[in-house]
Every structure is written in C-alpha cells, then in structure tokens.
C-alpha cells in the first residue's frame, strides 16, 4: 500500500557458470587442480593448463566482485526502504495528530454552542418566571381588592368600587393565560458537520497531490551539443509516481509566451533527472517539471533556462599561418548564433606524431582567431572549442602546426583576376589566354593592373623566411608589401612595397630590387631559379638569396612601420611556386 519515494535501480545479476577451461580439463575434478597439472607431460599442455587456471581464477574473481556489488546494492536498498518506512510513520503520526486536533476543536465548539443555548433558554424561562410572578402578584392584588370590596360594610363604597372591580375581574378573566413555556424544553442538537474530519480520516490512506518540484539550474559540463541533463528536487516528502518534463526552445525574436510559436515537448520520467535529446546546438531552452501521483498533478515548477553546448568550430586551414615563434589560427564559428568565447587547445607532438607533454589551453578567446606563442622547431596539434554557458563544445578537427620556418597561404581575394592559383594554394599562373571582360571582376581588394597576389599577413616580429621557385623565362616580382599597398600600382613602384624583379630583355636577364620605383644597379651572372626571401622585422632588413648557390643577392634596409604581407606578381605569362614552412638556412642568418 505504500509507495516509496525515489526510484531504485535493480540490476539483474546473472550468475554465469564458471565456464569450462580449454582442452576440456576439469580443474575442479576429484584430483584437484594440482593433480591435473602434474599429469601434464608437455610444457605446452602445462601452459595451456596454467592459462585455463588463470582464466577460471579471473572469472571467479569477477564473480566475487559482482557479489560484493550486489551485497552493497542490497544494503542500499535496505537503507532506502528503512528510510521510507520511517518517513511513512512520521507522516501517519502527523496526520492522526491533525485529525485528533480537529475533532477536539469541533467538540469544544459544540460544547460552547450548547452552553450558549442553555444560557439563553434559562434566561427566557427566567423571564417567563418573572412574568408569571408579576401576574400572580397582580391577580393577588386583585383578589385582595375584590375581597376588600366584598368585606367592606360601607354600601356606598361598595357600590362605588364594585363595578370597576368587577370590570377588572372580568378583564382579568378574559386575559388569556399564556402558560406555555416560551422555550422548548428539548435542546436541539444540531448535527455537526464532521464531513471534513471524515475526509481527513480518509485522506490518511490517501496520498496528497505533490507540490511543485524545484528544478535545478544547469550544471556545468552536463550539456552536450544536442542534449541537456536536467535535474530537479521534490519540494518536500511528497510521494510521486512520475514526473513530466516540459521544454521548448527559446527563440530570440519571439516573446517568451506559451501561446505563441514553438511547441512544447514533453517527456515522462520516473527519476529526478532526465537527459533531453534531439536538441539544437547553441540554443536556449525553457524547462519546467510537474510531478504526478494518484491524487493529482502538482503545479508546474519554476521555469529554468538551459543552454545546449555549441557545435564545434571548424579551423580554416587556408586561413592559418605559422612562424618559428608563433602561429595564427583562424576558424569558422560553426554556430549560427554567437557563442560566449572559444578555447584553443595546443598539444606538442614528437617526431612520430605521438603526443608529448601536457596539453595547454587558451581560454576566453573572444573572436574567431588567435595568435599563439610557440617554441621553435616543434610540431603541435591545435583544436578549438566553442564555449557558452552550457559548457564547451566538442573539439574541432585538429590542425597540425609546425614551427619550422614560416608558413602562410595566399589571400586569394587579393589576386588579380588573370592570376589563377593551384589546388594546393601555393602555385600561381598567369595564363596566356585573354579573359573576357566579364570575367575581370574588380573589387576594392584585388590588384587591378599588376598581376599580383598577397600572402597572409606575417603578424609576428622576428625573422621569417620563404622560398620562391621560378623559371628562366618568367618575369616576376617577389617581395613584401604593406596591407594597404595601392592595388592599382605595380609592386615595387610605391613606397609601400619592396620586391626583387626579373626582366627578360632580348639580350640578357635583368634583375632589379625595387622600392619606391628605385633600384640599385646590379648584375647577376647566374640566374636564380629558387629565390630565398628573408625578412627581419627587428633588424629592418629584407634579403634575397639564390638558394641553389647559397649566394646573397641583395638586402633592403628598411624600417617597417607595420606588419607586411609577402607579395608575388607575374609580369608575363608564366608561373611561380611558393615554398614555405622551410627552415631558414644558416647563411641567411646574421
């Protein structure tokens, strides 16, 4: 007849047989384990017997553990049941006390009423009695008067008094004597309304409807991208059969009003917690709980706001660059709505690709990019998580970062329309074909006259190095430029760019090192096929080398006012390939 509060999980314990060891040997046979072993001649069989024994031993050990667990569970159940009984007892005691109290209250009330009644009746009767007494007095007086008149000798006085007296007697005789009691003699005992006591008695065996549960605020790290773990508590020692959890998404543009918009979903659970699934990531949900038992349904709990965890971001590989001392990581949020912040996790990898060292995390990154300080000549694995109040999302796909040399990608939206870039993003071509005018789409960012493209910004002080592979017949410009370099000008023609230029004349190869339209007068006897470009922000130098010969060609001495982009241009149809992520050779260092 009682139902206990809470829900106890019963684990079914299946008792498995010990299992027969291999080779069909019976370790628990009459001879015992050792006897069996002794009988084995070959080492192999002995080994297998040992194995069998080990297996059986392990199984038995597992069984022991299982039984211990079961005993533990039984104990827990016993304690819970004991608790429940205690609570029940308390509850009943309380209930009966209430009933007794009510009854005694009623009794007192009734007694008081009767008392009052009695008093009023007595008063009435007393009044009547007084009345009768007065009447008796007046009739006595009349009789005495009549007697007096009768006794009077004086005929004249008699004649005078007899008529009024007779009149008075006649009047008096006409008077009706009200001899009835003004009050009833019986006391009307009204039947007390004891129906509520009856219901109280009845309700002892009846469980009250539960009161509203208390829904807990969201616990840290309990949410996932598509599910929420909701917990709530009972307000008091209510008996509950099941709970119903209601939830609906909170959309920013709709008012939080039940009558509009989204449907409310409902989940029926027996426990005081529930994992709600099939939700949207990075979304806010409103949840409330109602408890139900045989008597009825509780009022709704207060509405709690929970948030699912965002979807993981996606690192933009082409948007990331690295250099010996730092890496710039950019990613897409992965969520339609804004998240609170991002966490970037970095793990160092050794040469075999295994993790070495602890992971580091940079938290509270406000935007979709992060510049991380790293150590030179190492490999790292970087992942990003989006974070909101629900917790962190899953890790994004990792990006491998190497801090050997400087790695950057080309900013394709700065490229001149005639410049096409390969799949891998490191080779560029200036095609022979004339493009139709419609294909030449110019916007503010791309080069319009010089067939050029910028590389990603190098936002870290120190030294950077990359190489460019060219052909003998390609007229190229290779160097660095400020971000705001004039897109309508040629590289090297302005004071916002520095470059090495190769010109092919009918008689010979010519090399210029251009900045602000000026170049030194230089002659180079061996045409470089692979050019090393070394940028030193701190030293204020930009140097060019013939990598194959390890020959220094020229150094610009400049004072960089801000960070620069590598820049590349082709002056005649041809191609060039950028090789970066290469360690700067010794001869390029000061």
């Amino acid at each position: 007849m009682w139902s206990y509060v809470g829900h106890i999980e019963w684990t079914s314990y299946r008792f498995r047989p010990a299992g027969s060891p291999p080779l069909g040997m019976d370790p628990l046979g009459s001879r015992g384990v050792l006897g069996v072993i002794e009988e084995c001649f070959s080492a192999e069989e002995q080994e297998e017997a040992d194995e069998g024994i080990t297996v059986t031993r392990n199984q038995l050990q597992e069984k022991v553990v299982e039984m211990e667990n079961f005993a533990g569970h039984l104990e827990e159940i016993f304690l819970t049941v004991e608790e429940n009984f205690g609570r029940q007892e308390q509850h009943l005691e309380q209930h009966y006390n209430e009933v007794l109290q009510t009854l005694s209250q009623r009794y007192d009330q009734r007694a008081a009423r009767l008392d009052l009644d009695k008093k009023s009746r007595l008063e009435v009767l007393y009044g009547q009695l007084l009345g009768c007494g007065r009447t008796m007095d007046s009739s006595k007086e009349l009789i005495e008067a009549a007697q007096g008149v009768y006794r009077s000798q004086d005929r004249r006085l008699f004649l005078k008094a007899v008529m009024p007296t007779i009149q008075r007697i006649e009047e008096f005789a006409k008077e009706e004597m009200d001899l009835t009691l003004s009050t009833a003699l019986e006391i009307n005992t009204t039947e007390d309304d004891l129906s509520d006591v009856k219901t109280m008695m009845d309700s002892i065996s009846v469980v009250p409807a539960p009161s509203a549960p208390v829904i807990n605020p969201q616990m840290a790290n309990s949410a996932t991208q598509t599910s929420l773990r909701v917990r709530w508590n009972l307000f008091s020692d209510d008996t509950v059969e099941f709970y119903e959890l209601f939830y609906r998404p909170v959309l920013e543009d709709l008012p939080a009003d039940n009558t509009h918009g989204t449907d409310v979903c409902k989940v029926k659970v027996k426990e005081t917690h529930c994992r709600v699934t099939d939700l949207l990531p990075n979304a806010q949900y409103e949840l409330w709980v109602m408890a139900t038992n045989t008597t009825g349904i509780s009022p709704a709990s207060e509405k709690a706001l929970y948030m699912t965890v965002p979807s993981p971001p996606a690192i933009k590989e082409r948007g990331c660059s690295s250099c010996p001392e730092a890496a710039l990581i950019r990613w897409d949020s992965g969520n339609n709505n804004p998240v609170d912040s991002y966490t970037v996790e970095i793990t160092e990898m050794d040469t075999h690709g295994a993790q070495c060292g602890a992971a580091e995390a940079i938290v509270a990154v406000p935007s979709c990019q992060c510049l991380i300080q790293l150590q030179q000549d190492r490999r790292y694995m970087v992942t990003v998580r989006a974070v909101n109040i629900g917790g962190p999302s899953e890790k994004s796909h990792p990006l491998g970062v190497s801090t050997t040399g400087t790695l950057f990608h080309l900013l394709e939206d700065t490229a001149h329309p005639c410049l096409s870039i390969s799949e891998d993003g490191f080779t560029m071509f200036y095609g022979d074909e004339e493009l139709p005018l419609s294909a030449l789409a110019f916007d503010d960012n791309n080069f319009a006259r010089c067939v050029a493209v910028l590389g990603d910004l190098l936002p870290v002080r120190g030294q950077h190095y990359w190489e460019v592979a060219v052909d003998d017949y390609t007229e190229f410009r290779v160097g660095v430029a400020y971000e705001d370099t004039n897109r309508n000008a040629y590289l090297g023609a302005t004071n916002t760019s520095w470059c090495m230029r190769h010109i092919l004349t009918p008689t010979r190869h010519k090399y210029e090192f251009l900045h602000d339209g000026w170049s030194p007068d230089l002659r180079i006897t061996v045409n470089p096929m692979r050019i090393g470009v070394a940028l030193d922000y701190d030293g204020g130098t930009l140097s060019f080398y013939n990598v194959e010969l390890e020959q220094h060609l020229y150094t610009f001495h400049c004072c960089f006012q801000s960070y620069v982009h590598p820049c590349f241009a082709l002056d005649n149809p041809g191609g060039l390939t950028v090789h970066n992520g290469v360690e700067a050779p010794g001869y390029t260092r000061n």
Partner: protein, 358 residues
C-alpha cells in the same frame, strides 16, 4: 735528450725543442751545433728554401750564448715588428721581413682581432692597388671594426718589392715600384725580384700561419683595382684554396686595357699567350673548380671605369657564360678612391665572414 720532437713534411720543416720540466736540464752543446748546421744547410738549399721555415726554441740555463748562435739562423726568417697600435679591441701591427721570393725586405700589415688572443682565426688577404703600400689600407679602409666583430685576421702586404735597385723601377707609377701586378715576372731585370704572385700565394701565407694564431685552412682574398685583379687571379688559379673572393673596382681584363698591356709586356714579355695566365676574364672562361661566390663593387663615377682600364663587363660576360656566381654592384656617385672602399668595406667583410666563419 728529452722531449725533442721532429716533424718533417715537404713544405714545412720545424724542429721544436721544448724543455718542459727540468730546470736543471742542460743541452749537449755538440747536438746544438749540429742542429744549427743542419738548419743553415736547409736554408740555403734551393729546393728546400721554398717554404722552408726553421724554428728553434731553446730554453736553457746557460742560454745566452746558444741563443746568440741560433739567432743568426733565426734572423733569416724572423719577423720584426715595425709598429703596433691597439685598434677596435685588437691590434694593428706592421712587420718587416726578409722575403725569399722577392729577395728584399718586405713590410706587411696584420690586423689581429681580439679573438686571436684565444683562438685561431681565419685570414683575409687584402691586395692593394697601384702606388699603394701596406699603409693605405690600414689607415683608410676602416676595416678593423668589422674584422674585430667577425674575428678575422687581415693581412695587407705591399704592392711590389722595394729598394731592389733595378733600373727603371721608379720611372712610372703604373709599372715597377708600387705596381707589381701580382705576377711572377719572367723578363729581365724583373724576374729575380718581381715575384708577387708567389709571394702572395706561397710565402706570405706560410709566414702568417707560423707566426700568428691563423687557421691555415680558412683564408679568403680581396683587393682594389690592381689588387682586385690580383685577388681574382689568385682565386681562379688556385681552386679551393680561398673560401671566397671579392673586389673593389678590379682590373678585370688586363690584356685588354692599357695598364695591363704595359705591365705584362714589361714583366712577362711579348708573347701574349703567357699573359692569359694572369687575366681574370680569360681564367674565368676556363675555370673548373669549386663553386665561387664573387662580390664586386664598382664606383659609378670611377674615372678609370670610363677610361676603359677596368672592363668589368668582360668579366661579367665570361662568368655568365661559365655560370660562375657573381654579384656586381655599380654604385652611382662613387669614384676610385679609398672613400669608395671605406663605404662598402663592411659589406665585403660580411661577405667574407659568411664563408670564413661557416
């Protein structure tokens, strides 16, 4: 005799006698005289003179007499310090010696950087141009600071033998004294003394390597004008000997210019085929050796450039054809003087340091 070490190799004969421990040790006088005699004999033997260097160190308690005997032998190849000035943390010194090749007293300047006090340093040989001595470079070029910073010894010899008493040696400024052209003359009366090529490539390095904290395996060469011609010729004729070479306004093609024609005719005779061995442009066209990296600076307002004495285009063409790496920089406004050299000397030292300190 204890601790007598005797090493013999073809080029250097060095006998070292060192007494480390015993202060009471006395040398057998007879052995001493025998050593002296052997030394003197070797010295005068023609085949062994070339590169023979005898160094005897004696330490004995009855020393003075014996020292005097030996010093007679030593004085033949001794260096006499002429001057020493502290400069840029190191020392700029000038020495004098009796040259075997040139058969006269020769001076040369040596800059020892601070590093030379503790370690062996590489050596940068500087060949000066027409009319210069060992003084011009050390007072005007401003190379000492860069040399100190990079730990390089700089050796700057004179430009020709002096005071040999040859008739006509002082007649012209571009032939004879101060104009050795770094050749080994074959014509009389020059051939006994005017052997600057051998002096620079053989005698001087040995002298330097034996007397200073010099690393014999690391040397490079450079020069100005006639010295530039000398540096290029020495490099092209001795593949692998010099780690690198550079030049300031060199005479690139002496066969083709008035200076070269006058000098070669005088020193080498009328047969022009003998001149080719001392012409950088010709040598470049047939160079076959380790990869070079040549840096040449040329003043744009150099009067000798415009008077076709220097002819760098010929050298560039030859190197382009033979794929010899050259970076040739024309510096507008600069002339032929040491002001020009001073302006770009640090670039050159840096270029040399890259290879000497590699």
């Amino acid at each position: 005799m204890e601790n007598v070490g005797c090493q013999t190799n073809i080029i250097t004969i060095r006998i070292t006698l060192s007494l480390c421990l015993s202060p009471t040790y006395t040398i057998n006088v007879h052995t001493m005289f025998m050593l002296q005699a052997a030394a003197v004999q070797m010295w005068y033997k023609p085949g062994l003179r070339k590169g023979a260097c005898l160094l005897v160190c004696i330490w004995s308690e009855r020393g003075i007499e014996r020292q005097m005997h030996c010093s007679a032998v030593l004085s033949k190849m001794a260096l006499t310090q002429v001057s020493s000035n502290k400069c840029a943390g190191g020392y700029q010194k000038v020495y004098e010696h009796e040259s075997v090749e040139l058969q006269c007293k020769m001076k040369f300047a040596v800059y020892l950087p601070p590093k030379a006090e503790t370690d062996k340093c590489p050596v940068f040989y500087w060949l000066s141009g027409l009319t210069c001595t060992e003084q011009n470079f050390i007072t005007k070029a401003g190379a000492q600071q860069a040399a100190a910073d990079n730990g390089i010894i700089i050796v700057a010899p004179d430009t020709s033998p002096r005071g040999c008493g040859i008739e006509g040696e002082d007649e012209s400024w571009d032939f004879g004294t101060g104009a050795g052209f770094y050749v080994d003359a074959t014509e009389e009366p020059w051939k006994n003394n005017y052997r600057m090529y051998s002096y620079v490539t053989e005698e001087l390095p040995k002298l330097i390597n034996s007397n200073f904290a010099a690393d014999p395996d690391r040397m490079s060469i450079s020069g100005h004008s006639m010295g530039g011609h000398g540096a290029l010729v020495c490099t092209l004729r001795n593949p692998g000997r010099y780690k690198t070479v550079s030049a300031f306004a060199p005479i690139c093609n002496p066969i083709g210019c008035p200076w070269g024609q006058k000098a070669f005719a005088g020193y080498l005779g009328a047969d022009k085929s003998t001149w080719e061995a001392y012409d950088a442009t010709v040598l470049a066209a047939s160079y076959d050796g380790p990869k070079l990296d040549i840096l040449i600076d040329q003043g744009g307002d150099d009067q000798f450039l415009s008077s076709s004495q220097l002819l760098p285009d010929h050298l560039i063409a030859a190197c382009s054809a033979k794929k010899i790496p050259v970076v040739f920089r024309r510096q507008p406004g600069y002339d032929h003087s040491y002001f020009f050299i001073y302006s770009f000397m640090s670039d050159h030292i840096k270029h040399h340091a890259k290879y000497l300190n590699a």
